[in-house]
Homo-oligomer: 156 residues x 2
DNA sequence: CTTGTATGGTTCGATATCGTACTATATTAT
DNA sequence: ATAATATAGTACGATATCGAACCATACAAG
């Protein structure tokens, strides 16, 4: 049962397919955020966790702007997220010695510990999904997702 | 490649793979939301568009709770989204004749028109991506995404 | 050195998100 | 019929998001 308004133009149906993909992605993002935040305490958000996790994995001492780009959010949103982390004592912000305008973000011990316990808190949920969506599925999905992300990034 | 006390344990690395998938999905969701909202006017959000689009495609006369479930958001968030649509004259809310507690949501002509013009506004961006991410990629990605969504839905 | 412009970051205001608590109606058990 | 419980939806408050405007420093041109 196709929509009758337009003839079955391949460009339209391909675009519809893309909408469907993005729609699924939006719902998955919503669900995974809700699941993660249900495992975090103290009102920590996915964004807070993501920043801590990123710095543990790729090293700290990065700038707020680098962080904003890594998560593809406006710098003003990242500024707010970092203020929340600093207020909770999970990161510290130092002036950038090479750029008087800039700051550098460093993890505190509390930040590293919180990230670890958050990982422990969410791991059972993730591991429970692996029998249904394991290595093969993930390895099939990742290149497609990366390609889509790069395209969307370029389309900005 | 040793499997020792250190965390190169298959369960852990599979979990890491899952984190990577969800991370990509989060960024894609962020990017596609930003792109869509940059094409909408009057402060319309992705959520507003999503609700209109859903009703055009699957029929209106649904309840707020059905909408909240379709988008996997809390009912209180959907309540707010619907209030925004009603305030803009894009939907109307009627009492549900079969349930004195409930309401039914209907598209207005303005709502249908707005959805059409939003589709037109975003279509060029989507079509521009098709040479890079077309039917084959979308058809490969969709079943994986649907499976992941169902899993996350069940894990709630 | 001054001036113009670009860049890193914050402030502010409008709106979105969502948990808690609440109201009203429906359903179920007795 | 009544009481207990469940469900649809809203009100409210705390926090998140993000664009516009802003400040400070950096950099480039003359």
């Amino acid at each position: 049962m196709k929509r009758s308004a337009s003839p079955d133009n391949p460009e339209i149906s391909d675009a519809q397919l893309m909408f469907d993909v993005l729609n699924e992605i939006g719902i998955i993002s919503q669900l995974s955020r809700a699941l993660l935040e249900s495992r975090l305490q103290d009102g920590l958000t996915q964004q807070h966790f993501g920043v801590l996790n990123h710095m543990v994995r790729l090293g700290d001492g990065c700038t707020p702007l680098e962080m904003a780009r890594a998560f593809q959010v406006p710098k003003t949103s990242m500024s707010h997220t970092l203020a929340g982390l600093e207020k909770r004592g999970l990161v510290t912000m130092q002036p950038n010695p090479h750029d008087g305008r800039g700051k550098l973000i460093y993890l505190t011990d509390a930040g590293r510990e919180l990230r670890s316990s958050a990982i422990s808190a969410i791991a059972p949920d993730v591991i429970a999904m692996i029998p249904q969506f394991g290595r093969d599925d993930a390895n099939a999905a990742l290149p497609l997702l990366r390609k889509l992300r790069v395209l969307l990034d370029e389309a900005r």
